[in-house]
Amino acid sequence: MVIKHKNIFKTQSAWSNADEKMLCLDTGSWRTSRPVLDKDKCNYCGLCALFCPPQCMNDMGDHYEANLDFCKGCGICANECPRKAITMVPEGEFTDG
């Protein structure tokens, strides 16, 4: 029996097309600890957002907050914060984690 294979590519050759299919990984699940911000210490300087490799800090108007869907928990934001306003807290301490 021949199972007819459905074409993945519309073209003769292999091209990717982000408009048709944008890939995305659940990198949030990689995290072993998460950044927790002490808003009182934050001066909204933005360095945490700028240095964040996955660029996943959301601008909240007066502070930045990691998008936990993508934050890999590298801890750079905590290390680079000039005011030490971010602490990396093990995921086990969060019920949703």
């Binding site: 003769q12 050759s13 990717s16």
Partner: protein, 399 residues
């Protein structure tokens, strides 16, 4: 019925012809690196550029690998491209050759056949082409200067056809054809434009455009890879008939026909067939005529298309023949037969138990001479009569 005007006839070498052929097709980007015996193409194209004969982007690359990569990328971006190489140059392109066919980029390349393996033979032989046979390219072998020019034009028609979209390698014997000066008709460029015009009427092929979210060379994962490979081989199958069609169109337009995948010479009533390719086929015709006069019913098949292998046309032409001799200008490591002979052996079931004699000749600039081919005809003729024969003969080793 010929609709093209008469072109200018000039006595030029095969290499120069290659450059003229490319020029007539107005490539957008040309990249070439010199190597004996191809260098004259790179020089001639550079001269065309210097003289303002072509307005193509001309990239004087630092190596053949780059030449192939430059034209591959420009082709993927939508351009018409040309490059030329030989021998180790072709080998040095090997990774890019695979990419080019895998990306289905309609690159046209001329390859002046030269030896490659370890022993540095600066001399003719088809070994370079043979070592690239599984690179997924269409490979065509030409016999004389005019055919080089004509085949380059036909190569664009083939490569850029939306049904095909494959790179095409136009081969000719280095040293023999590369330096052979013959009278060549160089068509009027407007006529070539007209001939290639149908390509522009096709729906545009996929192109790489900045700002558009599309990428070429995506990782083919599992079925994606299988599908791309499958489509590639299907396109290869389509090449065969397309080559015949284009040959007909070309002949109707410019007045020269080459037979498409194979050219048959005095095969109709022949009992035995000699199969050869490239410049040796010219010499072989002379021998066939002479042997015919001696009463030997021999015919010649000139193999023009090597990849894809023209199995169906060969079966048709060889059916009922009593013996076949194949002359190879290269060898096939791992098999004792020459490469073309080895491929032909796949057709044994269709051809029946007919003797197929393999001959290795013309390596390293050694001539495939009239007496050599005469010997092949005589031995194949004896084999056809049921006499015992030698499977493989290295002609120069037995002289």
């Amino acid at each position: 019925m010929v609709s093209a005007q008469k072109g200018q006839v000039r006595v030029i070498t095969g290499n120069a012809t290659g450059a003229y052929g490319a020029m007539l097709c107005r490539p957008d980007v040309i990249a070439a690196y010199p190597i004996t015996p191809q260098s004259e193409i790179a020089e001639q194209l550079a001269q065309f550029k210097a003289d303002g004969v072509i307005d193509s982007e001309f990239v004087e690359v630092e190596g053949e690998n780059s030449a192939m990569n430059v034209v591959l990328a420009a082709s993927v971006a939508g351009g018409r491209v040309f490059t030329a190489t030989s021998s180790y140059g072709l080998v040095f392109m090997y990774d890019a050759l695979q990419e080019t066919s895998g990306f289905r980029a309609p690159v046209v390349m001329v390859n002046a056949n030269r030896e490659t393996p370890g022993i540095h033979a600066v001399s003719s032989g088809q070994q370079d082409m043979i070592s690239a046979r599984d690179a997924g390219w269409v490979q065509i072998i030409t016999e004389n200067d005019q055919e080089i020019l004509d085949q380059i034009i036909m190569a664009y028609m083939l490569a850029e056809d939306n049904d095909i979209l494959l790179p095409v390698m136009v081969n000719y014997d280095g040293f023999y054809l590369s330096y052979l000066a013959e009278a060549v008709e160089i068509y009027q460029i407007e006529d070539v434009d007209k001939f290639l015009a149908p390509l522009k009427k096709q729906s545009p092929r996929q192109k790489l455009v900045p700002g558009v979210s599309q990428g070429c060379g995506t990782h083919g994962m599992e079925m994606g890879y299988v599908e791309a490979r499958y489509k590639h081989t299907q396109a290869m199958e389509r090449v065969k008939n397309k080559v015949d069609e284009i040959d007909k169109k070309f002949g109707d337009y410019f007045g020269r026909y080459y037979g498409g995948q194979i050219e048959e010479y005095r095969t109709d009533d022949a009992d035995i067939i000699i199969i050869a390719s490239g410049s040796a086929t010219g010499t072989a015709r002379t021998v066939i005529d002479a042997k015919r006069e001696q009463g030997i019913k021999v015919g010649l098949i000139k193999l023009r298309l090597f990849r894809p292998f023209p199995a169906e046309r060969l079966i048709q032409a060889l059916k009922g023949k009593k013996a076949i001799g194949v002359i190879d200008r290269s060898i096939c490591f791992g098999w004792k037969y020459g490469p073309i002979c080895m491929e032909l052996k796949v057709l044994t079931q269709e051809l029946g138990s007919v003797p197929i004699l393999s001959y290795i000749d013309g390596l390293a600039n050694l001539d495939i001479t009239i007496p050599h081919i005469g010997r092949v005809v005589d031995e194949v003729n004896e084999a056809a009569k049921g006499k015992p024969y030698q499977d493989v003969t290295w002609i120069p080793m037995e002289e």
